[in-house]
């Protein structure tokens, strides 16, 4: 008899493990759990959602010219998407700016030109313009209120990539920001680079 009862108890345990919700309803209806809101984050991920180690934006090559010309690239491609996680119902802001706005320039050795000078529509010294991007919600309910305006760099001001209000929690991808850089006339040939930061801010 005892053996049978022991076997029955083990059987009950197995059933309980296999069907926890049924057991929960039958044994203890007052479980409490704490689900943290989590933190907001922004990263650049590839098509599989894996973080890209050293994200960058490549620009199309331009040839030396005696006239001002435009080099173009895209921020937020299929292989380098800006992934936004906003688990809190908080406003989030994503900006783009140079690491040292006052002094940073496109630099190749000793040659350089600016990314933030609007003189003569950017042609005199160089100006970077960011086109509006695309916001694609990948998770979460509701429709987040947001804008993806872009803009032209001027002085030390950052350009807004995303401005979202705190109406809903969501995961999203930002893609398709067209970048166009005015390259001044007679700019020396070289491989130029510019370090920039993407900043996500709770607001």
């Amino acid at each position: 008899m005892r053996k049978k009862i022991s076997l029955l108890a083990v059987f009950a345990a197995v059933v309980a493990v296999a069907t926890p919700s049924v057991s929960l309803a039958a044994t203890n209806p007052s479980f409490t759990q704490v689900i943290n809101a989590g933190t907001q984050s922004v990263d650049i991920v590839d098509g599989s959602g894996v973080s890209v180690a050293s994200p960058s934006v490549a620009f199309g090559a331009v040839n030396f010219d005696f006239a001002c010309q435009t080099a173009t690239g895209t921020l937020g491609t299929a292989t380098q998407k800006i992934a936004v996680k906003n688990p809190k119902k908080a406003g989030i802001k994503v900006d783009l700016n140079a690491v040292t706005p006052a002094t940073d320039k496109w630099t190749s050795g000793t040659d350089n030109y600016k990314y933030n000078d609007a003189t003569n529509t950017g042609c005199d010294f160089g100006q970077l313009t960011v086109g509006a991007g695309t916001f694609t919600k990948t998770a979460g309910g509701g429709t987040p209120t947001q804008t993806t305006p872009g803009g032209a760099f001027s002085s030390s001001s950052p350009v807004t990539l995303l401005n979202s209000t705190g109406t809903t929690a969501y995961n999203a991808e930002l893609t398709g920001y067209s970048l166009s850089q005015k390259v001044p006339a007679e700019q020396a040939p070289g491989s130029y680079s510019l370090p920039m930061n993407i900043t996500f801010t709770q607001q």
Partner: protein, 543 residues
């Protein structure tokens, strides 16, 4: 007894653990991709303080707060922390300055207990900081940020193109009490059309106060007929003191389009005593409406509009134009009586108009048959040399005065051709004008043409010398000939002597093989020097 009780208890515990495990595993946490940061000590009475730092300090006062840095990743992270001033982005929205930029305000007032921490996977740490407001700080809100950046998330300094780094920040608002001013005005409403046909309506507002405002914007479109779109409204966007910022609203293009006006309103807490996130006690609204602007209809609607407009206005306009044209013809055109050998082409040529127009106005249908004494309308006061001198119009000989005169193209060539005869006309003996002569060639030589006796052809010169044709041209050997407007083909010119004879009469060379695109398929006479008649030929022709 104890053993089986132990077994039952163990099973129960296992079951509970299983439930717990199953329940927890069933929850998918929103895992952050990188380091996160939140205010460590939110105020229970202000939910907004869970997301941003809200600090109120008098000049010279000092306060403490803290930021909770968490590492939700699976590897140990080293995080750098910093305090920076705020800055307006190019669109006027709140932003944080870069860590390498010099601090002048809030960034300078903050002293972090630690500037770098190392976090194991899944761990978090609170870093406290002290805010010291300088004694000379002006009343109002001063903005800044606490930033955090994984040491592996810095932008590379080499390579081509833009090298990207990432950092996080939490807004920090330090309000210095005093004369707080809250004032918001809508400076303009901008409207623009998107490439996909939708429209953007953006109220642009300026915060003229000295504290930030959480603004809720609304927008609606109303048509000139009073139709209203649904109201689009937003959650609250912050607008910094002194900043100008717009809220773009996207409206779908109305199918029927039309003239619309945008109505916008911005509401904010105007109570100077209530800070960020505190209960709204005095909601103020700034309102502004745009002027009417055209929203382009959908392509299908444009098509429908065009069809309706065509029906409504096109019909009467067409009718009026037709009436005016008829009136004009009635007034400016005169009657002309068809004579023997007239064709629609010859009449048209005489009056220097296109034969198609002549046929249309006189409602002539193919094969454009004319009858002698038939009355046609022709332009008044426009006559050519032919009409003035060649009154004995060249018509095909007919035994009956009412025999039909048709154009060559439409005629049947199987009918036996009648002999060309002289028209009993007093002016028929007038000399032939060389410039009006041409041959008319059928499209192809009909079989009947070969059956024509050669001697008939020998009658041409006399025939054409004694009649005034419209425009005939010198024939070539092998051409068939016919009379314009006749249904008959008179034969193939295969007699070299006849051709020579004709050439000598008209002094022409064999260069007439240009077909005119006309119902008669006539050949225009060449105007080359070679084609000019000689004195000798003219003399013969005048005979």
């Amino acid at each position: 007894m104890k053993r089986w009780m132990f077994g039952a208890a163990a099973g129960f515990v296992l079951g509970i653990l299983g439930m717990a495990a199953g329940g927890i595993l069933g929850i998918v946490y929103a895992q952050s991709l990188s380091i996160g940061g939140n205010p460590a000590y939110p105020r229970p009475d202000n939910p907004r303080s869970a997301n941003i730092f809200i600090i109120e300090l008098k000049p010279g006062a000092q306060g403490k707060d803290g930021i909770r840095i968490s590492n939700p990743t699976t590897i140990t992270r080293t995080v750098n922390l910093g305090a920076v001033d705020s800055i307006a982005a190019v669109d006027g929205s709140f932003s944080c300055k870069q860590n390498k930029e010099a601090t002048k305000e809030v960034g300078k007032w903050i002293k972090l207990d630690k500037n770098q921490i190392t976090l194991a996977p899944g761990k978090e740490e609170v870093v406290d900081f002290t805010v010291t407001v300088p004694t000379g700080a002006s009343p109002g809100e001063h903005g800044g940020c606490i930033t955090f950046q994984d040491t592996k998330s810095y932008a590379k300094t080499s390579g081509a193109g833009i090298q990207l780094g990432f950092r996080g920040a939490v807004r920090l608002a330090v309000t210095v009490p005093g004369e707080i001013k809250k004032e918001l005005t809508i400076v303009r409403i901008t409207t623009s059309r998107n490439p996909d046909g939708s429209y953007m309506v953006s109220p642009v507002a300026k915060n003229s106060g000295n504290v930030s405002l959480d603004v809720q914007a609304r927008a609606q479109l109303r048509s000139i007929f009073g139709q209203k779109t649904r109201i689009l409204d937003d959650a609250k966007y912050p607008i910094m003191p002194g900043a100008t910022m717009g809220w773009p609203y996207r409206f779908e293009r109305p199918f029927w389009g039309g003239f619309y006006k945008a109505y916008t309103s911005l509401s904010y807490n105007a109570d100077p005593s209530s800070g960020i996130g505190e209960n709204v006690s005095n909601t103020q609204k700034a309102r502004k409406e745009s002027g009417y602007f055209l929203m382009v209809p959908a392509p299908l609607a444009i098509g429908i509009y065009a069809a309706v407009l065509l029906l409504v206005f096109g019909g009467p306009i067409y009718w009026l134009l037709r009436k005016r044209k008829k009136k004009s013809i009635k007034k400016k055109w005169q009657k002309y009586t068809v004579r023997q050998h007239d064709t629609i082409m010859s009449i048209a040529r005489m009056h220097t108009i296109k034969w198609k127009k002549l046929a249309k106005i006189n409602k002539l249908k193919p094969p454009y048959e004319l009858e002698i004494n038939q009355t046609l309308l022709v332009p008044a006061g426009v006559t050519t040399f032919q009409e003035q001198t060649a009154t004995p119009a060249m018509t095909k000989s007919s035994t009956s005065a009412n025999q039909a005169v048709t154009l060559g193209e439409k005629q049947s060539r199987k009918t036996p051709s009648p002999q060309p005869t002289r028209v009993n006309n007093t002016q028929a003996e007038q000399p032939i004008s060389r410039s009006n002569l041409s041959w008319e060639l059928p499209r192809s030589a009909p079989q009947t043409a070969h059956q024509q006796p050669a001697q008939q052809a020998t009658q041409f010169p006399e025939f054409y010398q004694s009649h005034q044709p419209t425009t005939y041209e010198v024939p070539s050997r092998g051409d068939s000939w016919t009379v314009p407007g006749s249904e008959q083909t008179h034969g193939i010119i295969d007699d070299p002597d006849l051709v020579s004879q004709l050439r000598s009469v008209w002094g022409e060379t064999e260069q007439n093989d240009v077909l005119e695109s006309s119902p008669a398929k006539k050949i225009k006479p060449k105007t080359s020097k070679k084609a000019k008649p000689t004195k000798k030929s003219r003399a013969k022709k005048d005979l």
